[in-house]
Each structure stands twice: as structure tokens, then as C-alpha cells.
Amino acid sequence: MTAEPPDAPVPTAAGEAAAGEADVPREAAARLATRSSASALSIPDLAACLEAGLEPVGLVQGFCAMQWAFYGAGSPYLRSASPLSGLPRGAYSEQWACPHGFVSAEHRMWGQNYEQPWVEAAWAQGFGSAFQRMLEEAGDAGAHGVIGVVDTARHLADMNVVEFHVLGTAVVVRDAPPPPGERPWSTYLAGMRLTKLLEAGMMPVSVVAAMVSVRVWASCVTEYLSEGQAYGWGTAGTAEIEQVSRARAAARSLARQRIRDQLGADELHGARAGLDSRELGQGDEVVECTLRGTRVRRFKHVDPLPAPRPTVRLG
């Protein structure tokens, strides 16, 4: 393995800096030292894990509360200025010029889609720090891995604060050597699904996640199309709103790319994508795509399985 941890779910420099700190609070360390180990697993999951030789040693978690501001919420004063002055563009940006040759203070002369790396960096810092803190708790408990990971990001009421929370159950494998780099492996899976993954020759490496934020500054055409005012501007009534379509597709594709960048030669299993588009009025919007899943390593080739028996359940 290379010196650098291959699987930190932090695609940007900001996130990595945050992930470097050792900052499990005192309280957590004291709790983990007590005798009885807590586990957040359901009973069937627990039974399956015990059978696979995974013994829970504690419920581990990490938090990060981030100040969360919204950028450029459709401010009319910014309409005439390029929103990109002095800001990094990210990997994706596209421009649309006004086809009308019409000059007016109310008429948009250009439109732009661009990735917002600073929003992504903040997300990566929040998620990355919470995840790193969870792994540190697990490391302190001497865990080999963390299973059944659940992560949430929620807005605390009326405070402009987003709290990232990552939670999982730390497990040890008796008599096994410590994990490489003392860094426990982690997965969203638990129980039967996890043991089946192992039986299928795949070993979880790490939870991976990425968020991509794309801002749409509508061009005149986009604005008119999305307001239903296409008439009079030489545009056909039913037309694709290309700028918005491209922004949404780009957000999804970029998220997939960011995840790929964290995979090395491994695979992504059980991906879950969430797309949130927030309209800011007049065709302007912010598109945010979050993609998460478990990075898995294939450690052996598995022959095809017997075909399952179809069943119908009574009752």
C-alpha cells in the first residue's frame, strides 16, 4: 500500500487538512474504555456478524458542525456582473451567449454553468472530519473495521448550521493482525449483506462519498424558456432547456468521477445518489448531487452461483 491512505473520502485539500487532526473528545474516550460494548446493529445483523467472526466493540461516531451560508441567492444586483470574478471554476464550466443581439439592463447577455468547488470543499470538510473522528474512535477501541455506517447531514433549526454525523459499529476480528496503517476498514453494509459480500469475494475498504455543486446562472434563453415566455424571441415553444439539462447531467457525472478518483483499482458497491436542485428564481438554480457507497476490493474470483429457487410466500 502507498504511504497515503487510499480511501479518505475527501476529494479536496481542505478536507484532507481537517482529516489530519486527532480530535476525539475526552468524553468519547472515557466511554469506550468501559466494559460493556454498545452496538447499533439490528439483532439479525448482529447474529450474522458474530457468525462471521466480527465482534462488536463499541458504537463509534463523529460529528462536525459547519457554518453553512448560501451563495449568490439570485441577487438582482449581481445580474450584470460576472459571478465568477475571483472564484475558482472547478472542473466544469460552460457559457451561453445571448443570441438576440439585444442590449438592455433587464436582458441577460450571457449565461453560465459552473461547478462550485468551495461549496464542495466545505461539504468534504464536514463529512471528512466527522468520518475521520469516527475512525479515530474506532482505532482507539482497537477495531479492525467499522460496519453498518450511517451518515446524515442536517440543518440545525434557524441557525445556518449544518451538522454532519457519521455513526457505525466498531468490530474486531480475534487474533487478526491490525489493519494496514492502523486505519480500520469501513462499510455501509452490515449483517447478512456484509457476509454475502465476503462470500462473493469482495472486501470492504472504505466508505466513500462525494458531493458536487453546480450553479446555473440562466442565460436569456434559459430564463425565457423556464418562465414560459419564449414567444417573441425566435425560439420554438417546446424546446429543451439545454443549460439546465446539462447542469444536472454534469453534477451527476462529476459526482461519479469524484467517487472514481477515490476508488483506485477497486469497485464501488451499493451506490446511492441524491440530487437536490434548488431554484433561485428566473431559471437560476443550484444543483447538488451527493453520491455515496462502499469501496470494495475483489480478493478472489468467484464462480457463478447456483440459480436461486423462486418462492411464493403464504400469508
Binding site: 449483506r193 424558456l225 414560459g228 429543451e240 464501488l268 458497491h269 451499493g270 457463478p304 418462492t311
Partner: protein, 297 residues
Amino acid sequence: MSVPTPPGVPAPGSVPAADVRAELRAGMASLAAPEAPSGAAVTSDLSIDETLLLHSIGWVPVDLVNGVSVYAVPGGVWVWSQGEIAPATEAHQRAVGAAVARLRRECEHVGGAGVVGVEVTIEVHPHHVDVELVGTAVRPAVAPPAGRRGHRGPLPEVFVSDLSARDFVLLHGAGWAPLGLAYGTSFVNVPRRSASTALQQRTQNVELANFTNALYSARESGMERMQETALHLGATGVVAVHVAEGPLSFARHAVQFSAWGTAVTLVADAHQRIAPEVVLSLDDRDIAFAAQSLRGR
């Protein structure tokens, strides 16, 4: 044993149960091994059960793919007039069509034979129709996708289906194959009632014939369009049809009918019966399906 066993696939019960603890140790050892050079990483949103089910018929996931399209609905179409609201219907049809085409292109690009488990999200807003399709591209592990044939001739290069991987495997076992997404929609104005009719109906138990007729007309045209796309794909049937119908929240005088499903055709010489086994479950929780373990006992 009813799902036909492809060549090279063991019959149930013929494989010994795996030692999960040994597998775990082998897996953990692989984490310490030097990393292989970065290759084409597989990404998939399938669950382990779905992955294993696909594996049991010799298919593997390739990549997450998506198709997105946002179409504008021209202004002024929602004023109350008569008959079909053609511009809205057109925007809807074209948005779905464009999204499907993009999904198919992405699938071709990553070398998939088709997309399964497509999550279909269609939102109708007053001025635009948003369509998003997300799924996992899959392909046979060995055989190239070319040369797929149905009994009516060659199948399309790449299929798109909103059936889950589980349904895909079941269909496959029965000798059927998905061809693509069949879809159709229609927006229709509800005819106005005359003032005297409206007054009369206020206190009576009567059928609101105008609403009934509008819904019927929307349903007929929507279904017909869906059937046309299916026929165009060379399908002999459409399964798992989803329907969205009713008045629009922003235009109560207009009704929408949308339907979509997976167009299928028989690829085997005859339908293979799957003869399910009857089981009695002691589980209250509703688990839709569980390929519970790789290897039966």
C-alpha cells in the same frame, strides 16, 4: 429447480457452504497487499443480493449511468380551452425520449449491454418538464452483447429497463428479455360545464361526465402512445406499467395521464415456466426478496 441453469453454473446444493471467517481473513489480508494499478473501476448501485442474482445468470454490473432532460413548456398553454394540450404533451414525450436516448448513449459508452433498475423521476412544472433516469449498466460476463436476437429478429443494441435486477433475472429465466422503456403521456383540458348544468349538479349525486370523458381521452391517447413506442421497439408486451394520472396541481382544469413500463419480448423458443416453491415465512418484516446466501446447503 426451475430457473434454467446456464452452462457452467452449478446446480443448487452442489457447492459446499463457504467458511465466512476464512473469507473475512482472506479479504483483510488483501487490504494489506500492494494496490493493483488503477483500472476501469466498476461502480454500481445494485445491492449485494442483486449483484449475486445477476452473477447467477452470468451478468455483471459495469457502471452507474444517467440520462437527464429538461424541456420547456411554452407559456399560455394552461389557459382553459378544449381538447388535448398538445405543446405540454409534446414537451413531456420529447423530454422522456431525450433522457432515454442519453441513458442509452452512456450505457453504450461504458460498454454495457443494457441498463437495469432505472429509477424514473418525472416532474411536471407549469413551464418545464424534468426527467431524470438513473440506473446501472450491466453486461454478460463473457459473451459480447452483439447478436442478441428475439424471435422477431435482432434486438436493439442496448436496452433500458426500469425493472429491478431481480425482475430482470426472473424474466431471463423465463426466456424473456427487456427491449427498452415504453412511455406515453397526454394532457387534456376538461370541457367546461354550462352554467345551468353546474347549477343543477350542485345538489345532486351525478357523474361528472366532463371529467370522466377528459380522463378517458387522456388515458386512451397516453396508452396508445406507450403502445406505439413498445411496437416500435419490436416488443410483444409491456410489463410493470406505472401510471400517473389526475388533475394538475397548478391547473385544475387539465388532467394528465402518463404511463411507462418495460417493453419485453420472448427470446427463447418458448416461455419457460418457473414453477415457484411455496414457503411459509415467520418474518413479519417485509423483505421483498432475498437471495439469502450464495450457496445453499
